[in-house]
Amino acid sequence: MKKLPKHVLSILSWSIPVALQDPIIGDIEEGLEKRADHSLPTTLIWLYKQTFSLIWHYMLAAQKGTIMFFLGLLTLLAVIAMTFVLGGGASLYVDIPSGIIVFTPALIVGFISVGKKQFFESFHMILDMQKLTNTEVTEKDVRVFDVMSTTATIMGWFGVVSGIVAMSANIKAEVFSTVFGPSLAVCLLTLLYSIIVKAVCYMAKQHILSNAIHCAKPN
């Protein structure tokens, strides 16, 4: 093996601070070149040992903001899951049609409104703190989250209102007590999903903005 595999290069570029990327990755390339006559397993062991060591030493310094964002997201999702379980079981809160009504338009409208390049750029900023700290963050970088959150909210209310209209049109006095409760529960799920999308988009937007403000501060 003479060349650094692409996946290792991506991991190293993500986890090592920009200022040290050239010297360290160059050293690894040189190390691989020197081990050209070694067996493949020995070289791979050396390469992965160095990679894990570099991730261990530098990831927190280079990607602290991203790690904190995902920890926050994990906490939010854990609290939501706990609420679902305590509220009568997770299956009560899972409804695929309601999910399609909320998530699909949110993603499509977000994608169309900012364009393919900006859409992926904005998500890349969340995943790569170094990208965020080395780029000038503008309003268009967070616009996708505003659009997605607003679209999800509109679709959430749309699901509730259309569900109530459908229920009201088909309501019969003899089955009212048994049908009304479960139907209303399902039609309210779109609103619940929209609130979750709004919360996640709010977190993403604040993560980008707060890190941009932090980076703009003089040392």
């Binding site: 050239d22 990755i25 050293d27 390339e29 160095q50 030493h57 530098y58």
Partner: protein, 141 residues
Amino acid sequence: MQIYIYQNVQTSNNLSKCEYMNNKSNSEEFKPLGELEQLILLAILQSDNHAYGMQIADVFLEKLSREISLGSLYTTLSRMEKKGLVESELGESSAQRGGRAKKYFIVSALGKKTLKYSVSLIQKLSHNLSLNEINHMGTSV
């Protein structure tokens, strides 16, 4: 009442702590180097006081038969750079390194003095001790 007497103990390298303290620009408390810091400084000096990461790792492998990870090497070098013990400069790139530049490290004057003092401490404590006899010393509890 206790009376403390400070002795100006001469080390084998003829550098006393008092001399060292006087040489420092401010009289802050001196902190001896850790084992890895000492070894890295010595490895840089072994390479004519101008070495980059992989070169230092090679010195470790050749002279100590010890494989050092680039993660611990560079974090220790960065820490020592912050303390002013080493200085760094970007060097040339080569095709062997995928066109990436080297980062050369040089032991600073402060680094040399600190290393000298740190090594002298070990020499002082190991003075009159035969390393061959260490295994047979003080085995009773």
